[in-house]
Symmetry: C2
Subunit: 253 residues, 2 copies
């Protein structure tokens, strides 16, 4: 009776670690968290590699219904929840861990690569990033100014900003770098603090960590129409650049 929270890294089926494989061997039931990110291969490929059937878990299953699904499986035997990225980066999994512990269910965590460190692929120093923010799909009444505010705050201290983009895998909707830039330009129009203009240096990223990863740096107006292809995308707005970072960014222009 245990809950294994197993990170599988940036979405490749071969991102599982040897430690993760050992736990998966013991697992009686295997779930894959499928709403905060998305695999970049068919789930069947993952099943083949780990040698077990994988059940896709949506938000309801990990949050409201966890009692009757994942936590129940962890009471009945060993349950594994595969998480794309690192399992303790999203609040939803930290929360699940706390709930399990309150019930005295043993929890084992296998960390793995997350976008917050893999973003070093842009050549920017990971240590110099400030708070991470995200852009949600526009919805009525949604406070969508947060990314603008976080960006403004980070800029004050010269920190880089990683902006994660909304995704709804079950509806096959993934925000693109282009939509993100448009959204920030609109916020600039409304809020007018000169935080994000058409001349702001941006680094658009797609599929970081995958074989076909794409990184493109330039002014917002130039990146705006660039085609980044398949998800997952994210956007970086650099702060003060060290000359080595400058050089690294240069190669992606």
């Amino acid at each position: 009776m245990a809950l294994f929270l197993i990170g599988i890294g940036l979405g490749d089926a071969k991102g599982v670690t040897l430690q993760g494989m050992e736990l998966l061997e013991k697992a009686d039931k295997v779930y894959l968290e499928g709403y905060t990110s998305v695999l970049n291969c068919p789930v069947e490929e993952l099943e083949k590699i780990i040698g077990k059937k994988v059940e896709l878990a949506d938000r309801a299953m990990v949050e409201q219904k966890a009692e009757f699904t994942i936590l129940q499986a962890a009471r009945d035997g060993d349950a594994a929840l595969l998480v794309i990225g690192d399992p303790l980066v999203a609040t939803t999994h930290v929360d699940l861990m706390q709930r399990a512990r309150k019930e005295k269910i043993r929890v084992e965590v296998v960390h793995n690569a997350s976008i917050v460190s893999a973003i070093g692929a842009t050549g920017l120093q990971v240590y110099k990033f400030g708070k991470v923010t995200s852009i949600p799909f526009p919805e009525k009444g949604h406070g969508a100014e947060t990314p603008y505010k976080v960006l403004a705050e980070n800029q004050k201290s010269g920190a880089h900003t990683l902006i994660l983009l909304d995704l709804r895998p079950q509806e096959n909707r993934f925000m693109t770098v282009n939509e993100a830039i448009e959204h920030l330009l609109k916020l600039e129009l409304n809020l007018g603090q000169n935080v994000f203009t058409r001349d702001t240096l941006c680094i658009g990223c797609a599929r970081i960590g995958a074989k076909d990863q794409l990184i493109k740096a330039g002014k917002a107006k130039d990146i705006l129409n660039w085609e980044f292809g398949k998800p997952v995308h994210c956007l970086v707005v650099p702060g003060r650049l060290h000359f080595m970072e400058e050089e690294a960014v240069q190669q992606f222009r």
Copy 2:
């Protein structure tokens, strides 16, 4: 002829991913970067798991002498550099990657768990961390005020601060949480901006991601004498806490 930069995660020999194992199988020469972090198992255990001899690479080998060691091996065949954590977090490896690319050596990167995301184990939200800073061992003429300044900056925006602690594996010297707190209290005495006092909430961490990971939260004066055991240690100074974070921190008091 290629250079593989392979992250192995938080120091366990079984942290290698399946993708990493595939590349290691092809590698003609395998190095382990041994100066920015340290394995928490004997190198022989790692050698057994990957089935190859591993040569320990010190700073000179990865930096000044890379031409004649790692890069030469990547010209002669396939060379792998194993890196504890994620291979693109430390500047030294990003620099090695750029040098290889300038020479048209193909580079493959395998990302893995890094302390900057695994720190979610404290229950603090990874997205709400500001810039990461580090405390170096005191040396003559060394500008040791940086961690204090970064902490002050992060506090202004309510961001959490991850403070990495210096280590010199070859001299078997590893800064402890206790030394780090003493260092910050001394800086407070000198700089007096009320950034880090004996009453500041701290989270001391040791061996994050390992089976015997230790996390202890409390006021600086209480953590100051806590025994954290074996390396690697790091220190977190929380910013503004969300009630869920508050609850998570509570369990480590």
